[in-house]
Symmetry: C2
């Protein structure tokens, strides 16, 4: 089948619920990772929505985020109708917000196709992403099932989950459509290398496409308690308004990820094989490619470096001045400064935990 997004009610859900302590002190409760200006000075979230726009209009783009940052998200995305920002009063993982979006869209467009993607990834090639998402949406529309984007592994990464791909059952705009045989948790180094060598494994990108009908059906089948909760939520919203209904009921929805609660349990999941440059921007050390490259490494903001290299130097206010540093992360904000060797950048979490224990909530 040939498929054009122009003729179809295509919606997108951008999942922007992450707290993200890995980018402390730049990221805070009030300014999670997806709000950080890592996309050529714009936030990852704004860049994600703008990348989508030629495929999915702002009127059909929903963003799910925590109530705490919902207004900041609305300010970041002035092109979106305010009610398209779904404000979660409590974190209930991804199945709940995917369900909420699907139930909401189903009311006005039960025949809609939905794309779901994270707000905090970096994908420089917008046309490649849109073409891949269009293929996945076409596959979802044609086959009526759940579709995931299977990213060709660029390396034996141990930080991501993998998909084991089965037989090719068709093609979408030249891309192979596979049956997914198995979802694999983050592997060991050895297994990751085996996966890459084997050729029939891909990275689990966290990007999906499905018809609203298919995801509603899958939630009713595999997470019936969530389905009932969402039915009740919509009914309550009719009488109380959505905000009050959410305030009363959202926190009691089951807390489970869409991967674990739906995708891994579904009888059939299709995978569209895609291949583009993609980064989940997982830590300060992983910012190469996201920030401008200087002699000293990657830098952002007001930075002066002498005889330094391989470093990540970020200022959000104070001048960051370094001499003779190697492979170091330095991040300075008005109220906190982080210094950590690049190969220990993931230990920022320990620092944040220590600050939390010490009651330094003003800095988190």
């Amino acid at each position: 089948m040939t498929w054009s997004p122009d003729g179809m009610p295509l919606y997108a859900l951008v999942m922007a619920g992450g707290a993200g302590t890995r980018f402390w002190p730049l990221s805070r409760r009030s300014r999670p990772k997806q709000m950080l200006p890592f996309a050529q000075g714009r936030s990852l979230l704004a860049a994600t929505v703008e990348r989508l726009a030629p495929l999915v209009s702002p009127e059909r783009t929903l963003v799910a985020t925590s109530a705490e940052v919902a207004n900041a998200v609305r300010a970041e995305l002035p092109q979106l109708p305010g009610r398209n920002v779904l404000a979660e009063p409590a974190g209930r993982d991804t199945a709940a917000c995917v369900g909420w979006a699907a139930w909401r869209v189903a009311r006005s467009k039960p025949e809609a196709v939905m794309i779901v993607l994270p707000a905090d990834h970096l994908i420089p090639d917008g046309p490649a992403l849109r073409s891949a998402l269009a293929s996945a949406a076409a596959t979802a529309a044609a086959r009526g099932g759940l579709v995931t984007l299977a990213l060709r592994p660029a390396r034996a990464e141990t930080g991501f989950g993998y998909l084991e791909l089965g037989e090719v059952v068709g093609a979408a705009a030249g891309r192979p459509v596979h049956v997914v045989k198995r979802f694999v948790e983050k592997p060991s180094r050895e297994r990751a290398e085996e996966f890459v060598a084997a050729g029939n494994y891909s990275w689990n990108s966290g990007m999906f496409a499905w018809t609203v009908e298919a995801i509603q059906g899958a939630i009713r089948e595999h997470l019936p308690e969530l389905a009932v909760g969402l039915d009740e939520l919509m009914t309550a919203a009719d009488s109380l308004g959505e905000e009050e209904a959410l305030r009363r009921q959202y926190a009691s929805l089951p807390k489970v990820s869409v991967d674990f609660g739906v995708m891994e349990k579904a009888k059939t999941v299709w995978a569209v094989g895609v291949d583009f440059t993609w980064s989940d921007v997982g830590s300060w050390a992983g910012l190469a490619g996201a920030l401008p490259l200087q002699d000293a490494g990657v830098t952002m903001g007001d930075v002066v470096a002498l005889d330094s290299e391989g470093s990540v130097l970020v200022s959000d206010g104070p001048l960051v001045a370094v001499v003779g540093v190697r492979d170091l992360v330095v991040v300075a904000t008005r109220d906190a400064v982080l210094v950590v060797p690049k190969d220990q950048a993931q230990r920022v979490k320990e620092l944040v935990e220590k600050l939390r224990e010490a009651g330094r909530d003003d800095l988190l």
Copy 2:
């Protein structure tokens, strides 16, 4: 002779003129090194004046500093009469301010004995310092010449000048009084080791004692142009007031150090041999002993460190949070952050120069 400070008109001049870029970003034009809180939370300057107080009263303690920071110095030393802070409208090195102080004291107390010492050194043992200064003052009063404190070298330091000591000509409160044979500039490592091994070399502490009569005579003899300038300055001060006289004439006084312009040229200089713990706090790396010692190294202000050691971690506002750093200097203020390996701490000067060239005067 036995000598008691109680019976003598003993004055002190504390030289607080240094700009001190080595402690950037904590030190600024408006807050030079001697104003930094490196003496158990108090400034080096305040600690210096307080250490002196049992020997020289605040009424007889003069502080020479730049006009730019004179009011800050007065605020730091509320116990001093305001006019005891000599505000230099231009930096003319130490001979000019020593001369100004001597000329001024000579008017009211021509028979006075003067102690001269820097404002930015760290000397934990106050009684030992006062006893040594009393010995030097007694020697100056008894012999009528120029006296310097000869510090027993604690190590083969290449960052200080040395004194070659000649014969012992007497004693003061049990301390040997030597003739100074020679002033030696900062030596190489090899020569410094020879000096320490030889036993008749000492560190040039930059602390002096002399009668006002002796220093005036030495300036008239070796820096006659300065003597004439100081005579004219005092005359002008009588008619115009001291501030206006300084404004008109101070900048034209010869610019030379008291070491080079007077001490090295004088026919006879006495050295009183002293031995106490002393630090010129020359750089961030040299702060051990001045700041509280923690597992991570020396720290000041709001610092959280995980698995770090041998470092100098200083906060003047923002939290400084480090993980896994070794032998690193991190200094954070509200508008600038410095990161440099401890063994390159002296390169802060290069950074400051670069900022000056870039017109970043707001940060200097």
